[in-house]
Symmetry: D5
Subunit: 149 residues, 10 copies
């Protein structure tokens, strides 16, 4: 029996067996970003039917397996919270340390509301720095005011 978990596990297994990279796969899937495509392949976003067919070709998935990649996954189901991995934990730490600060400043600027995590996009880039290169992250989410009713 297939499930999204089984398909995600196969994606990972095939990626390593074939010696592929996320960026390499992403470049072939379509015009979306590395982030979006990697998230979809890791079971956290969706591919279009065409993108899924392409992914199946690259990773040796069956047509039925590919179909699962086009369905909304149970987002976050496999996340370990608090994260145990140091790379992921640092983001968690930022929330713990700066969450109330972000809230204070966003509300002061925009009013009572939130930054959407759905109407949202982001990018990750290398920022060259003589003291050691830096990870540069840019996020942009629509401000949503609480509706008064």
């Amino acid at each position: 029996m297939l499930s999204r978990e089984v398909v995600s596990a196969k994606v990972l297994s095939e990626k390593v067996a074939r010696g592929l990279t996320w960026k390499g796969i992403a470049a072939e899937l379509g015009s979306g970003s590395d982030l979006l495509y990697t998230a979809a392949l890791l079971g956290q976003s969706v591919l279009t039917v065409e993108e899924a067919a392409k992914a199946a070709e690259i990773l040796g998935l069956t047509e039925e397996e590919a179909r699962w990649l086009t369905l909304s996954p149970e987002r976050g189901a496999a996340a370990i919270m608090p994260p145990t991995d140091p790379l992921i934990y640092r983001f968690y730490e930022l929330i713990q340390n700066y969450g109330t600060t972000w809230k204070a400043l966003i509300e002061e600027e925009f009013g009572d509301g939130i930054m959407s995590a759905i109407d949202f996009n982001m990018s990750i880039e290398r920022e060259a720095d003589p003291k050691g290169d830096r990870v540069k992250i840019a996020m942009s989410g629509k401000f949503l005011p609480f509706k008064r009713f």
Copy 2:
């Protein structure tokens, strides 16, 4: 008896009583960013002696209370995790949904290591958009490779 919690509570109480804004206070404290100063006043970072003296003047703190603002706080101690506030929760959700994706792409680009949350800076800005303004966040953290030993 004083403690950082008592001082932080007084800061908040005085800010509202005096009708001040975080940005307004920050502009007077020194050359640091809004984010840094707001974090320090919320008990998540430190001020220099001069900045603390200035803050005391603005908020009506005693000299002893100001001294607490220059000491490393117990960072994150007051954070509610998972966050219950929708604004802060959305950042938590981003980690739950995209954490493994960030890890995959940062490691692919930089190798085995992490983005520092200590040698780190960030900014929050308003991004005008006809479909609704957006919250634009830029983060930059030094890449730290795991030391082999």
Copy 3:
């Protein structure tokens, strides 16, 4: 020192001491709904400056206390989850039992996205029924598609 928690506690204490009802207070605050005003007084939403002044008058709050009612609260901070109160728990139970069903049907109808809890409104009404009156709840939240990027 004041805080939103202190103000919320005073609101509750004064409401009982003065023998007021939520609907009675709400009717005098302005044109918003009972739900919105009750939420604000319980520390889960904001009032406008005018509404807060009116609330202060009704409940005997000081001007400084009223000011706290106009500030974005730390939403959800006082919620007990899982809820221990049977009335609130039943809603939690509905999520536990039907959450995956709601997800399946909303995604089938709207695509990959969510119902906003921010651009959201709701009402609660009595529904007369010979077998016992019913609580009728109507919710409406904007559908937000996950942005592809």
Copy 4:
């Protein structure tokens, strides 16, 4: 060995393999609502013997597998709480933010008691809106007063 979990997993797997939709399946099962039938197929409610036989036909289940669909499931056993999926989480957030408000207003209207989650029905519909369509949810639960004894 069969169990409700195994049967639910097969239902999901077959639904995707056959390219079916929940509404499509529901329309053939009987006169119940989409919600009820989807919940039952996801292991959160029961089907009648006739409905189960019909489901077996549509999804290629054995007679023994179909029998499991007629038995009261261990409701909620597979729910992730707090929900990690954004769509489901928003409902959880509504409880965190408005739970005490709902309690205050329902008790003010009905007295000491609860809204039943058992003698309960609901519907989900699309609400057309020029600013973006909305998810419209209607719930109705019998009010149950606490019995005095």
Copy 5:
């Protein structure tokens, strides 16, 4: 400022200071059971206005404090779960050990539904036994079938 917690604490303090018993207080409050009245005084149920006035007289409460006893409390808020007290824990243990058994037999007898904890009554009595007296508990809750919709 008053709250239900403050009133409950005063009830307990006064009960001990005055050397009263729960049954003794209950006998004077009205025609309800010991269980109902004790629960109300411990902050888990409500008294009528008359009962609350009587309780205030017995325990030396103010009129305002008495009013809190007539309001629906935040049920269960002070419960420690899992219970640390051996007497209360034994009931928790019964659920852990026999919960699935109760479910199996109630569903077999009544169909898909639950025993109400709202339309519910119970009693606790001493059962004389030569091998050591026993605690005899009788519970009765209305069976509520899941509504099909």
Copy 6:
């Protein structure tokens, strides 16, 4: 390899496959109650050697599988706490709401001690009621005073 979990899973699977009921099986096992036998088959109590042999005959278990039914199980290991199933949760809710009341009244009647959950018996019956039949539960546990030493 066999374990109690494997045997319990087979019991459930065979019961459904053979279309049996708990009461039907219990009636054939011996003179014990429905509750005791169902608990044992669900992995929460023990059967005698004779009862286990009978159960094996009814459910098609091997002799080795039957032997596991005579061994003290890891009680409660499979319980979900807090229970997610509404039927089981209602009992949990009763403890949350009335636990301190039960403690207060049992101690007032019996002194410092507990109701045993081991020297314990119970029954579940249908109580006919024109307003809807009720689930009637009778429990009896030996009172155990704390030994002074």
Copy 7:
């Protein structure tokens, strides 16, 4: 307002202020063991009226405070679990490591049942040992067989 917590805190405060020892206090309270009396003073057991009066005399408690010492406390309410203190944690560790072993051997010797923690007594003594003195603990609890019903 008094409560058992307030009285326990005063007991501790007075014990230190007066430079007393638990064994010293226990020796004057009556014929019970050090363990029982220390537990009662720490809010985990009860004293008789006479013992409480004696304790009040030694520790400077009021008559009303003494009365609280004769009432069944909310046992275990102040325990930190898992214990953070190394001395207490070691006992927790013994359960984690040997709990299943104790269960296996007690059931093999006594049958299906438990060791009572209520009809229970224990002692702690110093065991001289040339390689370093040892803490010697003796426990004795009545075996309670699960009642068949």
Copy 8:
């Protein structure tokens, strides 16, 4: 692939299949105690090479499986905490109720330190008693003073 968990599961399965007892197996393994040997077979302690070879003979294990019994296990990994089984839970309850008492009395007698759970031994015996036999447990652990440095 083998692991300690797989070997432990096989030990249990074979013990039941062969109708053996823990004491019976222990008597053949060597001069250690029942407790030590049972703990080792349950995956909580180690056997010597000779003892493991003997265990393999008795339980039909392969040489490779036997080798796992000589390796330090991940102690406590399979423990359920808080214990759900009544027999094991009673020990947990003793810590919850008496932990602070044990700490108070051990420190008063021995000074600042702990009872070792490593340089530790214990025994479990039947204590005949006309009012019902008792489980008698004797523990002895070396007192370890906190090293000053």
Copy 9:
């Protein structure tokens, strides 16, 4: 009423008010290490009577407050686990990432046992490094073999 928590809070408050450093205080207390003295003042270890008298002099404590510093504290009671503070969290992370490695190598070198955290000492020093100074930590704990019995 005094307690160790109250005394620890006063120590911190006085330290800041008087502008003292931990090392400065430690240097005057006696011949113990900075670590030991700081731990004792933070409520995690004990001082001798003489050291406590000295501390009282430096920090302006009363004689009764000083006495609390000589009593074994409830170690770890105030620790936040998992640590939210980045400095403390990094140690937690080391356990998460390397705990099984430490176990593997210590057992391979020493046999079945542990490193004592009681017969234990440590030091923290600055290690000059051209690429940035390092925190150098040296720990030493007695190896304790599991006693066979």
Copy 10:
């Protein structure tokens, strides 16, 4: 399908089957430390391509399995926190007891910042001692000051 978990399990299984030691394997892998290589084989660090090839030869892994050893693992995913194993728990206890002390002294010496757990190295050695050999641990992590921005 392969995954890091499957490969780690095979490494452990093969190590026991072949009678190897961690130090023995490490000595053949390259010039890194025992700690680093053991961590990598336990799924907590990475090997170079050459080291992985060598590991595959020693442990009988396939080329595809070896490739997994060169990829950044999900660090900490398999850790049990709080640790149940006494050896690993002692390190956890050190943080609980001394974490705030470490923070106080490191900040006093270095300023506002942390000890890196990434630019980090450590060693474990046997320290001969007539009173019993000791485990000697040396850690060194780069001090990272919080960047002001």
